[in-house]
Assembly symmetry: C2
Homo-oligomer: 616 residues x 2
Amino acid sequence: MALFSVSFAPSGGSAEVLEGTTLLEAAGACGIPLHSPCGGQGRCGKCAVQAAGGVDEVKPLERAVFTEEELAQGWRLACQARVVGAAQVAVPESSLMVEHHIAVEGIEREITVEPNVRKIALRLPAPTNEDPRADLDRVMDALGGDVRPPQRLHPLQALPQVLRSSEFKVTGALIGDTLVGIEPGDTSDAAYGVAIDVGTTTVVAYLCHLPSGEVAAVASELNHQSQYGEDVIARLQMAVSEPEGTALLEAAVVDGVNRLAARAAEAAGIALDSIYEIAVVGNTCMTHLFLGVTPTGLASVPFVPAFQEAQTVRAAALGIAIHPEAVVYVVPNIGSFVGADTVGVILASEIDRGDGLVVAVDIGTNGEIVVARGEDLYACSTAAGPAFEGARIGSGMRAAAGAIDQVAINNDVSYHVLGDVPPRGLCGSGLVDALAEMVGAGLVTVQGRLRRPEEVGPLPEKVRGRLIENEGGMEFVLARAEDAADGRPVVLTARDIRQAQLAKGAIYAGIVSMLEEVGAGPGDIDRLLLAGAFGNYISRESAVAIGLIPAVDEGRIESVGNAAGVGARLALLSVAERRRAERIAQRVQHVELSESEGFYDRFADAMMLRPLPDEG
Amino acid sequence: MALFSVSFAPSGGSAEVLEGTTLLEAAGACGIPLHSPCGGQGRCGKCAVQAAGGVDEVKPLERAVFTEEELAQGWRLACQARVVGAAQVAVPESSLMVEHHIAVEGIEREITVEPNVRKIALRLPAPTNEDPRADLDRVMDALGGDVRPPQRLHPLQALPQVLRSSEFKVTGALIGDTLVGIEPGDTSDAAYGVAIDVGTTTVVAYLCHLPSGEVAAVASELNHQSQYGEDVIARLQMAVSEPEGTALLEAAVVDGVNRLAARAAEAAGIALDSIYEIAVVGNTCMTHLFLGVTPTGLASVPFVPAFQEAQTVRAAALGIAIHPEAVVYVVPNIGSFVGADTVGVILASEIDRGDGLVVAVDIGTNGEIVVARGEDLYACSTAAGPAFEGARIGSGMRAAAGAIDQVAINNDVSYHVLGDVPPRGLCGSGLVDALAEMVGAGLVTVQGRLRRPEEVGPLPEKVRGRLIENEGGMEFVLARAEDAADGRPVVLTARDIRQAQLAKGAIYAGIVSMLEEVGAGPGDIDRLLLAGAFGNYISRESAVAIGLIPAVDEGRIESVGNAAGVGARLALLSVAERRRAERIAQRVQHVELSESEGFYDRFADAMMLRPLPDEG
């Protein structure tokens, strides 16, 4: 038998193959993997290529798939066309099986993009007297054996018209192994998903192009639940005690998700109904409220969530207006107060893979802490409260335009303001800086008491003069009224300092308690990961100086950005990462700090504004 | 170790068991199977029994399940309580695993009741600090390993309240392997389903109590689609050609199902939301329209249904108001014009089990014919039309009050009327009788021509006088105006006779064509089954006399009642029967009569009004 050369464009590969070899086999020999879910039986039309030169005659199966015009242009099914001479083959992208790799924000790692949502273009043979298969069977046969037929009515109801209006060239949309839509024409590239981090304070949405894994747009807004209470406890109370509480809180976050999806879709120039899936992280209370589940069991001892495992529900059932058959995947919880967001942090930072003693701290409204050593994984939530997000601090604000985010005290107080505007308030990183500088200058004692002007040591008058007594007690003026927006000074009061101490004390004591679970102390930490926006902006020096985080070498501290949000994206883009998230949620030991021996003593120590552990 | 006697009420069984044996094991030794889906781990509370005498102390797990009062009454979990002396145990019915057998109407056979819907009463341990499992995990653990968690939001959303309001005594409702509801208290007996036969002319609903398999109520009504066209072809045209055609036809049948379910539930005194499943049979066009699928592919060659396999959809998605999570199971089709109703006939009559040469004829609006011999199973649909249901016959009517259902011609015409009323019209069995008697009396020729008075032989004047000429041609008066309701005579016209000939010719020719597929003739038939209400009422002698059915021994003809409806009930009551229905649909060879060689010649022969095959 003769050998013939077959070359493939645009890859440029070529191979010498025996006469009678199919183009599908020839492509395989060149390392060019073509789609062939039907196993080369000519039923799915997915291996369409344009061939010139020595290929055999067109088969009846191919006539059912291609128009006369397409056949004239050399279109063939690679599985049916056989080599009978030297041949040149052009492979369209849609026929090519590709694996994409993406690098995720903040954390340097690559994952293989294999989303739960897949869209597969099909060229089906039209029915004949010899092939009177039912419309649905025709589609299912082309998709291959592992696909589940539609579980809902709409795809089936539309099927006869869709097939006939598109001349049997359609795209199957799959969520998991279930066929959820059959669309006319080739729409395989129009496949999007949204990863959402439902924070107690902020909701962030990442619109992702699923075939490539790339982020097409990002949108965020305040969690509108804030109108009902600034922290988790307030919302929990509302959900459990008011008749419509859960419904109102659910509506607030679902409306937000709809706004964010619409904004992101508009920014990316795509249609909302090309979004097939949403992956969600959030703390346990947030994921309960997002699903409209009253968190009754979280409101009293023994604290028990309604669900722990991952949940998959229809987006439409939640009132989310994307593709009508789209689903929402909620990453699993770890326990009653350590939620899917912490699973996201672990997923993104890979600290579950066991490499030394690693501590991850996510300072949001709650401070979640994860400690990993070898096979051991412990997590807890501290009731740190939203002080570092600006709440409960008189001049506090989020890290937005007008926020003082850096503070230094030398001859005078100097500060940096976000945006090109006069200062309006103080954000978390500014608060940490201010505390550290004020303790350093002797304005605040290690115990947290704001000194009176007559108590402080030698200080420039420009600094000392900022200590003033008010009706409510002592306060320190960071930005004077004449320098500030709206003529309102940015100050730090004795009460503000107490709030900051409570928050940072809870976090530090949590870290120490968790380290004890693995028989270690702060000095044993190999890597300290700071998650959350806060972790990106904070001065590590100041954070160590006031004992917010343990005094470890600067080189061992890493900011990992919005790791929870990255975790949501990983769960959206990769089924393997999703399974890993589920294993993580099962594996992590949930520690209830209030039941942890000696926690309150540690908490009292940790309130001190000095580097900790106190080696002196 | 000591041996002790344990006796069980009410069964009366007893066994000698070793000290330390659990009551669960002791019950097993007596052949008394108790529920224990959690595998005897004390988690599901399903093996509750009342014990007296030598049983050991109550375990903490049991304290979580029973109230103090119940414990004082001797309630124990059989898996936890161990024998320490002679003991007497009372087993409530709810703890007993039972298999029910039922006999189905018309056809003598027993099936094991194992419905797709199951309800399982659970007594769950309340959460403690030591057992902080999530609410859902608590339920899922008790149900055992093979159960899938709720796939929809509602059961999860209600869960925390349901568990706490019922002191953790709940009932899990399962459809297939999926948990679809968690109800407070023990509601395991409130489990119903509806089997529905969507006929082109009539819709029949059987409300069944699923745990026992018994029929709780039956309701039927005309298929309201009839307002849009009396036969399948008319409705097909409307669905395909009018913009809202499918929607109108779907609404007509869905509204009917809602009415029938409500009427049956009222008759049985049960709540609509204790109906968890509907099983549906109907011809291919009916099942398409029922699901709102436009049967585009059925409207032109090559005839192709949109789906062939069984469909399971949510009842709520169809607008059927029963339990909100209830599902509708549609029995699979065989082909474009042989539907789920024929699968039901085969299921009910068991002719797929291969016992001689069996022919089943279902004379509804279409005449479906099944021929079985050994492994071979063939089915076809004849375009018989609704003549035997009273349509297209001038005085035709359904077999209801006022219908002449039997006719004899001797000295005069005598007839029997259904109900205690004057005659209003002629139903199918009356039509067959009338034709046979009229041919026998020489009033009608074997070719189907209605003779003029002067052409007939010697006949009593009371008979001859009924032959009258009208504007439209000849007609024969069966009931005179003065004897009939509303003063309108019941007559049979030349045109009516032609319609009946066309219908019976199509059926007979179909039978002969199908027999040829297995290489047999009418003389080889071992059993001839007549399905449908018609089959119960028809005079077999008359049917043979006019050649509607082959001339086989009377002893070989059996009426099997509404076998399609029985098939729907079997699919509702038994998962095994449902799987058998799916295998049958795959196995039956669909014969397109119009493509069958020699069909039209056979059809012409079969129009003759004489016993067939014509051996003379």
